[in-house]
């Protein structure tokens, strides 16, 4: 059986990211002491190890929450999202990950994920799916797939930033700046350009498969995309989740059942 991957979204204007970087300074703080204490954090040159993934993911998660102005701290809704999300995660391919699911206090319709297992959906998207667990599972499965397939990390791994992130192990003095640059590469890329269509289709298929093996209706994601398509007239603010690639193409590639 196939499965899922990952997801994430981030949204930081390039200018904002630049300012953020400029504000960074070590100030005597060794940001990777914990990583050092934990032992080796880099998985050779083959890619980013789990420790680094968790660090980068946590930082990206903070950026996501900050961008949306905070959480919708509804304990019952958050528990429901975690129950559905963790049910899916139980059968995903990367069992070493600890998934966490939160709700962003925004009326826009969007979903995001960060490396290491952070998944967020907006209140707008949560309201859109209502009490339909199949549709919620479809959305969360898509985001989980982005994470398990390391889609966001590949942005770093295929660029020059990998060496910077890998330098964490060497505890160089400029590591934190490079680390911040790596985080921003993820947030900037995902918020401004989104994943490429092939990656999104992969997340759609993986999310659908994960929902199915967990026992949810396979068509949940497609139903959500159809709702988004129907709501497209409401304006771009409510259609962010469908920005990349076009909804029409994503729906066509997902079987009706």
């Amino acid at each position: 059986m196939k499965r899922a991957r990952s997801a994430l979204v981030v949204l930081v204007l390039a200018a904002t990211a630049g300012v953020g970087l400029a504000q960074f300074s070590l100030n005597g703080f060794d940001p990777f002491k914990a990583a050092k204490d934990a032992g080796k954090i880099v998985k050779g040159t083959a890619g980013i190890g789990l420790k680094e993934e968790s660090s980068i993911g946590g930082s990206v998660a903070i950026e996501i929450v900050a961008h949306f102005g905070g959480l919708w701290k509804d304990a019952a809704a958050t528990r429901r999202v975690n129950l559905v999300g963790k049910s899916l995660a139980r059968y995903c391919d990367r069992q070493e990950l600890d998934f966490k699911f939160g709700l962003l206090n925004s009326d826009t319709v969007n979903a995001f994920s960060a490396p290491g297992g952070y998944v967020f959906i907006t209140k707008g998207l949560y309201d859109l799916v209502g009490d339909n667990d199949d549709e919620l599972a479809g959305v969360l499965g898509h985001e989980i797939t982005h994470v398990t397939r390391r889609h966001a990390l590949k942005i770093i791994e295929r660029g020059e930033l990998l060496s910077g992130v890998s330098d964490l192990a060497a505890m160089k003095s400029d590591d934190f700046a490079k680390y911040s640059e790596a985080v921003n590469s993820v947030t900037k890329t995902l918020f401004e350009k989104g994943f490429d269509p092939k990656t999104e289709y992969e997340a759609d298929q993986g999310g659908r498969a994960l929902a199915a093996v967990t026992g949810y209706t396979p068509g949940g994601l497609r139903a959500t995309l159809l709702m988004l398509q129907a709501n497209a007239a409401a304006g771009p603010k409510r259609a962010v989740f469908s920005t990349h690639p076009p909804l029409k193409e994503r729906i066509k590639r997902l079987p009706a059942e």
Partner: protein, 162 residues
């Protein structure tokens, strides 16, 4: 859409369909949990007859709905298809999992609170409020532990409890 586009779209859909296809006898599969039980019968609360470690190759001998009869060396038993992967997983069982206490078919996943590096990232960038929010998510998420998920799956008749 022209005919060429339609053909490519059709091929793409066909290629995507196998994503939901089950395993077949003769296929290979891999365990993906730290420890996975092979069961005597194809049902969730069946007696475990063997326990298999992480990333072990399994040979699929028989398929019964979402359940697979598999063998690994001398071990043979049933496993829910959601508990196996098509590709060999690449995590390090020694460092990427906590020394979890394994249960029937599910090994506990290592709980990982917000990383210290990420916390300091938030502080350094003046995102303390967002950092606190992420920690709130961590706390809420931690309350939905493995037992709660199992109970949810059983109640909703999902996964291997379907």
């Amino acid at each position: 859409m022209n005919q060429h586009s339609r053909i490519w779209l059709g091929l793409t859909v066909l290629l995507c369909v196998p994503v939901l296809l089950a395993y077949e006898a003769g296929d290979k599969a891999f365990t993906k949990k730290l420890e996975t039980a092979l069961l005597e019968e194809p049902r969730p609360l069946s007696h475990p007859v063997a326990k298999i470690g992480y990333a072990a190759e399994l040979s699929v001998e028989q398929v019964n709905g979402p359940w697979l009869l598999v063998s690994a060396g001398e071990s043979r038993g049933w496993i829910f298809q959601g508990n196996v992967a098509e590709k060999k997983p690449s995590a390090s069982p020694k460092t990427d999992f906590l020394p979890a206490t394994a249960s029937e078919t599910t090994a506990s996943i290592a709980a990982r609170p917000l990383d210290e590096v990420a916390k300091n990232y938030g502080d350094q960038k003046g995102l303390g409020e967002a950092k606190a929010d992420v920690e709130w998510v961590e706390q809420q998420s931690a309350q939905v532990n493995d037992a709660a998920v199992t109970e949810y799956l059983q109640t909703k008749k999902l996964g291997e409890y379907k």
